[in-house]
């Protein structure tokens, strides 16, 4: 074996150097501060996140929920948050029928603009956020949401994210499955078509891609598996395919996980692959200690939050998936692997939102 062909490509000298000083635990107080801060005012640099603003809210709330800090938000603030989320719900109208329905990401463009449409990923994170906050979903116009979801499914079985015509891929099939599950109403999905689409995106490598013929990817693998599970179709994957899938997923672990072969490990894949392997009943094969040690290198011990790679600045997405990835694998706090909310929130949904 040549020096240019190491089994694992990491800069070990660099990592060992700092390993001793690193905290050996999740710095809950720091993360709590990091996310509570995000619930309020965000600096100008977040302008480019304006079109996924609701996602920032979901990342913050679900993180606080998982680390047990949700009670640090006052009831008054929770009410404000719920009110704001509902203000983003798009009502059906004469001209568009249900085609615009769902939730907006932000309020920077008014609902009165015809070109302004709901987005399926925003509908998903809106429902998650409401459930985490303890809302009972009575303010959700269920019919319009279901019809809005229905308008997004394509002939291929896949989903686009906005009905005026956008890209379509496994991410939005996942959102459609979560929404249908939360509302306990599957009229928005032709489940058979969606299943066929998801089966078709499993690549020769064993993992799932965003679309047919594309490269297997940790994120799309999660979306496909979680959607199939919610749809009750996980067993549509053949035994042989499942075995290759598990092998591919496990090979993503180098220390933490990467999303594709020969890519560097990245914080968020602890969740995507950890949850995928959980859904496949193969979680016990994960080397928990190695994953934990990697996540300790991306946890920001001063500001709180997690970064994508060691030595980088923390961001909301990787901060959330650092926490949920750690917990889904360790089991220390229960995470619903398909819905991507805490089991506490899931039980609240079961008891309060399913009537």
């Amino acid at each position: 074996m040549s020096a240019a062909d190491p089994i694992v490509e990491t800069d070990e000298a660099d990592m060992e150097d700092k390993a001793e000083d690193l905290p050996k635990q999740l710095l809950k107080d720091k993360h709590s501060k990091f996310f509570k801060h995000m619930l309020g005012l965000l600096p100008e640099a977040y302008q480019s996140h304006d079109s996924s603003r609701l996602t920032l809210l979901y990342f913050s709330l679900s993180s606080l929920d998982l680390i047990g800090a949700l009670d640090e938000i006052t009831d008054k603030q929770k009410k404000e948050l719920i009110k704001w989320i509902y203000s983003l719900q798009v009502k059906p109208d004469h001209e568009h029928g249900y085609s615009r329905c769902g939730f907006f990401a932000t309020d920077s463009l008014p609902e009165s603009i015809d070109a302004n449409y709901g987005h399926i990923a925003m509908t998903y994170v809106a429902l998650c956020s409401l459930i985490i906050l303890g809302d009972d979903l009575t303010g959700v116009d269920r019919e319009s949401i279901v019809q809005g979801v229905r308008a997004l499914q394509l002939d291929s079985g896949s989903y686009q994210c906005i009905s005026f015509g956008t890209e379509s891929d496994a991410r939005f099939v996942y959102c459609a499955a979560c929404i249908s599950y939360f509302l306990n109403d599957w009229r928005g999905m032709d489940v058979e078509k969606a299943t066929n689409f998801l089966l078709s995106i499993q690549s020769y490598e064993g993992g799932f891609a965003q679309n047919i013929g594309r490269e297997s990817h940790g994120g799309s693998t999660y979306c496909a598996l979680a959607a199939l599970q919610l749809m009750g179709k996980l067993d549509a994957i053949t035994e042989e395919s499942r075995a290759r899938l598990i092998y591919w997923c496990l090979n993503r672990q180098q220390s933490g996980f990467n999303g594709r072969p020969n890519k560097p490990v990245d914080t968020c894949y602890s969740f995507w692959l950890g949850a995928s392997l959980t859904l496949l009943g193969a979680k016990d094969f994960i080397n928990k200690e190695c994953n934990f040690s990697f996540l300790m290198t991306t946890q920001d011990r001063y500001m709180g939050g997690f970064s994508k790679w060691p030595g980088y600045l923390p961001d909301p997405l990787h901060s959330y998936f650092g926490i949920s990835g750690m917990y889904v694998i360790s089991g220390e706090v229960e995470v619903h692997p398909a819905l991507n909310i805490s089991m506490r929130a899931y039980r609240h949904w079961q008891s309060q939102c399913t009537s």
Binding site: I7, L41, E44, L109, A115, Y117, I162, S203, E215
Partner: protein, 298 residues
Amino acid sequence: MTFYADRPEWKDVTPIPLPYSENEPVVQIMYSERFKDVYGYMAAIMQKKEYSERALNLTTDAIECNAANYTVWHYRREILRHLQSDLQDEMKFTESVIDDQPKNYQVWHHRRCIIEMTGDPSQELDLTEYTLSSDAKNYHAWDHRQWVLSQYKIWDKELEYIDDLLSKDLRNNSAWNHRYFVIENSQGWSRETISKELEYAGAYIKKAPNNESSWNFARGIIKKNKMNYSDFPAFKELCVGMNESHIPSPFLLSTLADINIEEGNKTAASNIFEQLKDLDSIREKYWTFKQDQLQVGS
């Protein structure tokens, strides 16, 4: 640059201010003055459905403030259709946004829409090649390239392009995936093609026995096409030969384990799993499970 509020040619438009609260903030982004100015006018223009040259320029500014705003991109396409604009300018515009933000979903989708409008994909291979030259694994660029190839059936130069990419980096998994994609769509997987491709992958496997990408390709083309290792004796010989030379590679061993299981040699497979527990220790529990499974199946 001058705020829209200070431009005489925009005097006829009353901007719609962004709802903004520092008192009861909810993930409230502290938008810059420029952002507020641009989006205030953007909202007003979309409200009155103005499809004009100045509206087009306004969307350029709105996209510069936030290139992820899918509503603005959508409105921009409506303007282009109304004005029947010269789409060559639009091609240049998307190229500059892609250059700046190569992982932005909206701009790649927009680019696809423009190609569908012009029906001319002649610049797309160069564009994606350019994007991939700075990030050879950019998922968006590959997605666009593969869409163009299957839409317009331009397969003739692709295998050469892949050879070139793999000669630069044999671990480029996207290039391996692309090889599968091109062959599947241009000629299909006959037994002869699989044999030839196993030879191709085999040469790379010998060069770098721990390269997951070439192993995945070799094993994938056999299994995805529902064939057996025994259908390709040359590939088996390659694996056996490498093993006899004691080349330490978990991918080699796990392939050999599969070959042995296929041939019913459980003891041999079990011995290989034993070695894997040590060589691929991060997956020790998995290899133990695979070893135990041999007994269950008997």
